[in-house]
Symmetry: C2
Subunit: 250 residues, 2 copies
């Protein structure tokens, strides 16, 4: 029965594709967690490890792409199967970008450890925890093919944006009060921005999981609370004065 053989082998290939996505997802979680440890412990060895491991993430992403092209060419899937395969390609690209951001956080942690210590930056591990939970939850949503869970992740990113915006303003204030904190503060700003971007990629994945299952897009407009792009913080005569202009243009 050759047709049964083909079906089985097709399922096996899809299964391998799935496993690669889940492996890359686990890698994204670990890389982010380790990069944040490198920041908080000022551990250059750990940071270098994260940077080295990023190569493996790129390899898996490329392997996924090859698998996808092979599945499309040989199996010519339709409807849900087609969405499964294209979704794997998109999710893999998002996970690979998350790994890139983790590697950049690790690089910055090395420079940060050499700059004069800025105040304890508790908001960074707090942001990282939120981002890690988003990655873990969206992977669960993918594994369980659960669109409601995907939608919850998509909505939860608002909290991460909030923490980022307040950290942005706080850091600018520190930097104004103490110019020695400018280099360190700038690296922390970019680390925080990287975590915020990781959250955005988790929401991209959530959108893809939703589309994969329902075949329609999550159309309601997502609450986007990152206001840092339009934040103005000014030094005033009686210390730091914060001003904020009108509504965000987005």
């Amino acid at each position: 029965m050759p047709s049964e053989h083909i079906v089985k082998s097709y399922d096996e290939e899809l299964d391998r594709l799935n496993k690669n996505i889940i492996m890359l997802g686990g890698m994204a979680e670990t890389q982010l967690a380790t990069a944040i440890q490198a920041v908080t412990r000022r551990d250059a060895e750990l940071a270098a490890e994260v940077v080295r491991n990023d190569v493996a993430a790129d390899q898996i992403d490329r392997e996924v792409e090859t698998q996808v092209l092979r599945l499309l060419a040989l199996r010519q899937p339709m409807a849900r199967d087609l969405r499964e395969i294209i979704s794997a390609l998109k999710i893999s690209a998002d996970l690979e970008r998350i790994c890139d951001y983790a590697a950049n956080i690790a690089k910055r942690s090395i420079a940060l450890a050499q700059a004069p210590m800025v105040r304890p930056i508790n908001a960074v591990p707090r942001m990282a925890k939120l981002a890690q939970r988003e990655i873990a939850d969206v992977l669960d949503a993918y594994i369980q093919r659960d669109p409601e869970k995907a939608r919850e992740v998509w909505l939860s990113d608002e909290e991460l944006d909030d923490v980022y915006t307040s950290l942005f303003r706080e850091l600018l204030t520190y930097m104004m009060e103490d110019p020695r904190s400018i280099t360190g503060g700038t690296h922390v700003l970019f680390i925080a921005k990287n975590i915020e971007r990781i959250g955005d990629h988790a929401t991209n994945i959530a959108e893809t999981v939703y589309y994969l299952i329902h075949g329609v897009h999550l159309t309601e407009s997502r609450p986007k609370k990152d206001r840092s792009s339009s934040s103005v913080v000014l030094p005033g005569p009686s210390g730091v004065v914060e001003t904020e202009e009108g509504p965000d243009p987005s």
Copy 2:
């Protein structure tokens, strides 16, 4: 002759897909150019226009995705045709991200115009010119299906990284000398980072164009000269002292 009809209609569909990519590419060029004008002229009206136009870019990207799924399902393409279609999906995603970065630059230009003026930031329009040339050249490479031109774009991104790294260090120095420039300087830092990321997306597109034509990846490792992630700038007793640690861990 129904088969000829199908072939013609398939070519037409591919052609429409191509036109959407080229349209989105033109939009990316315009959005970046206009966002930079908003920065240099401190023109909030122009900035708001860029932010508003970003919706159209998202729509084209989504339309490309729908076209790709339809082509894959109905035409079941192989080999080069399959690469054409998957490449369109990837290039569209990169162009849409370039538009997102342009919109973020526009948003920041509004905050920047309200912060105290920092020194003339000529490096920003200079960086933008380099990025615009990358986008224009990589679109030409795509339109002409010219892998050599794609490879040239891929190599040229090094110059953009160089300008970005020196701007990063220069801005930190200004911010240390004058705390009133910190808010403005931070927005300029993120604007510069956005332009640097636009260059990265142009090199992604260059890689995709090369793969589309040759069916193999551009494997030599691209020179990556952005050293800002590991820059340390410290204030010293005799003005600003710049230090730089060992080799970049990447």
